[in-house]
Symmetry: C2
Amino acid sequence: MSLLVVGSVAFDAIETPFGKTDKIIGGAATYISLAASYFRKPVNLVAVVGDDFPAADIRTMQEHGVNTDGLQIKAGEKSFFWSGRYHNDLNSRDTLVTELNVLANFDPVIPDSYQNCDYLMLGNLTPDVQRTVIQRLKRRPKLIVMDTMNFWMDIALDSLKETIKLVDVLTINDEEARQLSGEYSLVKAARKIMGMGPKYLVIKKGEHGALLFHNDQVFYAPALPLEEVFDPTGAGDSFAGGFIGYLARTGDLSFENMKNAVIIGSTMASFCVEAFGPERLLKIDQKAISNRSQAFLNLTACDLTLV
Amino acid sequence: MSLLVVGSVAFDAIETPFGKTDKIIGGAATYISLAASYFRKPVNLVAVVGDDFPAADIRTMQEHGVNTDGLQIKAGEKSFFWSGRYHNDLNSRDTLVTELNVLANFDPVIPDSYQNCDYLMLGNLTPDVQRTVIQRLKRRPKLIVMDTMNFWMDIALDSLKETIKLVDVLTINDEEARQLSGEYSLVKAARKIMGMGPKYLVIKKGEHGALLFHNDQVFYAPALPLEEVFDPTGAGDSFAGGFIGYLARTGDLSFENMKNAVIIGSTMASFCVEAFGPERLLKIDQKAISNRSQAFLNLTACDLTLV
C-alpha cells in the first residue's frame, strides 16, 4: 500500500527550558516520514529545500526508507526556517523567526513513480498547495489525511475549507477544532467539522492525549505521563506519521483499526518529545515501539464489571 | 463498610455562560454524600450549617441515605456561602463572594454511632479541621481519602502537609499537584507527593480526565467528551463521592479496584456537570450509572495487537 507524504522539510532552531539548538533539521514532512518509516517503506516524499540543505541529512532520511525522488532542491535558494521558544509549561510557544524562503513558491511535483498512491498524508502547508497535490494525483488515494493549523484558519479560511472538503481524516488540536467550528464542546465541534467533508476527525490535545471521532463514535487515547518532556516540536507530525504509517501497513480502514492507528500515533509522538528535534525518531526499534504501545494500552486497562 | 464524609454543606450562587442561580445548596460534603449514596448507604455526614439552611434540603439528603446525625445546626448563625462566575471555557472561574459564617469556627463532632468507620472521606476544608477529624476517631479507618485545594497550599502549607501525612489517598488537580511538589512533570510530582505520605494520588484534570498513581503504576481515565457542560461546580466532589462510595461498597483496596473506583468517580462527575448545582445528582438511577460507566470503558477500548 504505497504511501505519499507531502509537507515542509526545513531548518528549525528551538529553545526550551532545557536548552537550545542551532539550526537542526525539522519540518512537518521530516517528522511524518521518519515516524511512518517504522511501519511502511518506502515513504514517498514530496517537498522542497534550498541548496543549503545538508546532503547528509537527506541521506539519513533515505537510510530510514524515505524515497526522496520527489524532494526538489532549489539551486541558489534557502530552505524554510522556523525558530521558536517554548514557555516553561511546554504547552505554548512564541515564534521568533519564520523565513518561508523556498516554501513561498512551492509547486509540488509528483514523480510518476509516486502515482497510484494508496495513502496520502498532507502535512501542514498552505491549503492551496495541499489541494494541488490531490488534484495532481491521477487516481484518488484510498485514504487522504490532512494536518493543518490555526494560521490558515486566520488567513486562508476559504481555501482551507475547499481542501478539507476533499479529505478523509483531518487532524487538528482542540483550540483549532473550536476555532474552525465555532463550538466550545468538542462533541459539537467534531460534528460540525465532519459536516465539512472529513469522515474522521482527530483532535490532538498534547499532554492530554488525542480524540478520534467518526459518525457518533468516539475514541480517547490519553497521552502517556512522561518523566521528562524535552522538546514538543514535531509531536503532532510524529503522531500523523505513526497514524498513517500504521494504516498503510495494515490496509484496514475500519474504525476499530483507526483506533489502533491513534495508539501508534500517540506512541510515536511520545518518543519524539524525549529529545530535541527528530533525534529520538532516528533511533527507535520495533521492540521499543512495541513496549511503548503496550504501556499506552496498560494505561487505560480496567476490568470494571458493571452490576 | 461504614462510610464517613466530612466537609462543607453550604449555599452557592453560580453564574455560567448558560445562566445563573440564586442561592442553591452546595458544599463539598453535599456533592460527595449524594454521589456516594448510590453505592453505599448510609453516608454518615459530619458538617455544620446555620439555622438559615432549609429543613427541606436536609430531608432531601436524608431521603438519599445520608445520615445527618453529625450535621450541626448553629442557632442564630448563617451557613457558609460561596458565589462564583465561570469563564466562557468553564475551565476557570472567579470567586465573587466567600462568607465563611459557621465554617469559621467549625468544630467537627463525631457522633458515637459514627465511630468504627471503615472509610473516611475528608472533603476540602481547613487542614486543621481535617486532621482533627482523624484524631477524634478511636480507630483508624481502613482508608482515608482527602481532597484539598491550592488555597490551603497558599495560606496553610505546614498544616496541610501534617494532614497529608496521615491519609491514604490524596485528590488534587494538576495545577495543585505541580504547586505542591514544585515539579512540572506529573510523574515526578506524583512521586514527590506520595513521598509525603499518601500511598495513592489522584490527579483530577477536569475535561481531560483523571490520573491515578500508586508506586510506579499509573492509570488514566479520560473524561467523557460531553455534548453540553452546564455547570462544573461540584464535579471534583462528585468524583470523590463516587470513588469512595464504590470502594466502601466493594471493600477491595487493590490497585485494580482503585482503577474501577476512578471510572465510577469519573462517571458521577460527568453527571454532575449536566445541570446546575447538585440537581442532576439527585435524579440518577443504577441503569444510568451502568450505561455511563460502560461509555467510559468503551471510550478507551482498543484491540491493538502488537507485533
